[in-house]
């Protein structure tokens, strides 16, 4: 439902999707007020480097700011205020300082929070929180930790875990062990060759892999000033560590919406939206990691990737301003681990077959295509930037509404996987 150009728009969550919604609204000529409320007191920033170059010190916080100081967006940033509730009538949100912000449309972009390991069941030992990676604060804590000579255990087998593990090697860790659910990380989702390529690259740099199994909990003990941790795996095996980094997934930040009347999914508590980003509450929209659009619910698209958040923000900005409708493109993600640049595009998560087109796991130059019912649905390249870009551009939906194609309806519901 388009609103008039002078309406007041409120964006909850000053992250990637929030920034791009505001940017898109201005680009489409919205003249009314745009207010972005964020609980963090720092300027809005981009997250991908937090598990990569930020940890090694190659990039700084300023490098990651989303807004361009030389060409700033015309929006009101309200920082350091958590939003605690939503009211439908009058439409608006309540902040944790007791304030109420009224608006003509509310766009929710609160992202997700990192899951962590619970304390292990035991009658001895205490619990010290492991490092997680979601916010700049989290990454700063890990960046400031002294890894020199430390035994590091990274819990999780997704890209976030593998990226973080890769950064520990250059920081002087004595040992880095990845505790993942799979023997070949990512093999179930991306196919065996990709899992092999990842494992080979990590092992070549000295990273070890614990026997595959679910991590059940964490136990910590002090001897003098130093803390030792034990990660308890399914089956009772224990991994000892000085430093534990936990990257086992993320949960939508929607706890504040529980009594708001905005429908959430039963399993993940993500905000349910149609494919324009609209919830069933008039004037309330959602994008990014906190949301599950109809295409996600039906298994057509994966959630939890950067590109997804940017594109959804673009769709909402077009919806709200009545601009030409914008289509979501083929899903896309990338990851950097050592000198591997992994890029995947298309509907990899719902493929039933994969095929190596070129390269080998050992050489770190794989090009793999994915099929479903014999039809090509996705591509993944390791250090294959040109191939992946060409694949995406060939399938790009240009924004003339008449040409819109509809997607094949197959697959199951994926969850946040980073």
């Amino acid at each position: 439902m388009p609103i008039t150009p002078d309406c007041r728009i409120l964006i909850v969550g000053a992250g990637l999707a929030g920034y791009h919604t505001a940017r898109g609204l201005r680009a489409h000529g919205h003249t009314g007020s745009i207010t972005v409320i964020g609980e963090e007191s720092r300027p809005a920033y981009d997250r991908p480097a937090l598990s990569k170059a930020y940890l090694t010190g190659a990039v700084s916080e300023e490098d990651l700011h989303l807004d361009d100081p030389e060409n700033p967006l015309d929006v009101t940033w309200v920082s350091g205020r958590g939003v605690v509730g939503l009211s439908q009538s009058p439409l608006g949100v309540e902040t944790n300082d007791g304030g109420f912000h009224e608006a003509d449309a509310v766009v929710i972009t609160t992202g997700a929070s990192a899951c962590t390991l619970p304390p292990a069941e035991s009658d001895s030992g205490s619990y010290v929180r492991p490092y997680v990676l979601r916010s700049m604060e989290d990454a700063l804590a890990l960046r400031d930790a002294n890894l020199y000579g430390a035994d590091v255990v990274v819990v999780g087998g997704g890209f976030l875990a593998l990226e973080a593990a890769a950064t520990c090697i250059g920081r002087g860790a004595e040992s880095v062990t990845v505790a993942a659910g799979e023997e070949l990380p990512g093999a179930k989702r991306l196919g065996r060759p990709v899992g092999q390529a990842i494992r080979i690259a990590h092992e070549a740099r000295g990273i070890q892999f614990a026997p595959p199994g679910r991590a059940m909990g964490l136990r910590s003990s002090y001897s003098g000033e130093t803390v030792r941790h034990e990660v308890v795996l399914e089956g009772g095996q224990q991994l000892e560590a000085h430093v534990v980094i936990c990257a086992i997934g993320a949960k939508p930040r929607t706890e504040w919406l529980r009594d708001s009347g905005v429908p959430l999914t039963a399993d993940t508590s993500a905000i349910l939206c149609d494919d324009t980003g609209a919830t069933s509450v008039p004037g309330v929209y959602a994008a990014g990691d906190c949301a599950q659009w109809a295409s996600h619910s039906s298994g057509l698209r994966p959630v939890g990737h950067w590109q997804e958040a940017v594109e959804e923000a673009g769709v909402i900005a077009a919806t709200l301003t009545g601009a030409n409708p914008v289509s979501l493109q083929e899903p896309y993600f990338w990851s950097d681990q050592f000198d591997l640049r992994i890029q995947g595009a298309g509907r990899i998560h719902s493929a039933d077959q994969h095929e190596v087109l070129e390269g080998t796991p050992e050489e770190g130059n794989l090009l793999v295509r994915y099929l479903r019912d014999g039809q090509e649905t996705g591509i993944l390249g390791i250090n294959r930037l040109r191939d992946v870009k060409c694949w995406r551009k060939r399938r790009q939906i240009r924004s003339t509404p008449a040409q819109q194609t509809s997607a094949p309806s197959t697959g199951q519901i994926p969850t946040l996987s980073r």
Partner: protein
């Protein structure tokens, strides 16, 4: 085509219209080679994200990159492409040094 005998490397493009252009090869957002990007309408789209750079002016159209790249002057002499390197300072992405 990426030419890395100079530092920082440059990218030389032959467009569908038959024109030759040379710009800095490294995207200003992250360390990605623009020579591996997608060329259309006299712009190159970065192979990693969606910023595009003008082959004529080097300016960038949209995030995540915020800065443009340098454009180098190109002259054609028979089959040879002569590139005169810009004397401006390059805009390298954070974490990448000369």
């Amino acid at each position: 085509m990426r030419i890395d005998s100079v530092n920082p490397p440059i990218a030389v493009f032959l467009t569908d219209e038959g024109d030759v252009h040379a710009i800095d090869d490294t995207c200003t957002h992250q360390d990605a080679s623009l020579a591996a990007g997608w060329v259309e309408d006299c712009r190159v789209e970065c192979p990693l994200h969606e910023s595009t750079f003008s082959l004529l002016t080097g300016e960038v159209d949209q995030p995540p990159a915020k800065r443009g790249v340098r454009v180098h002057e190109v002259e054609l002499e028979g089959d040879d492409v002569l590139v005169e390197l810009s004397d401006k300072a390059p805009q390298l992405p954070p974490g990448v040094t000369l």
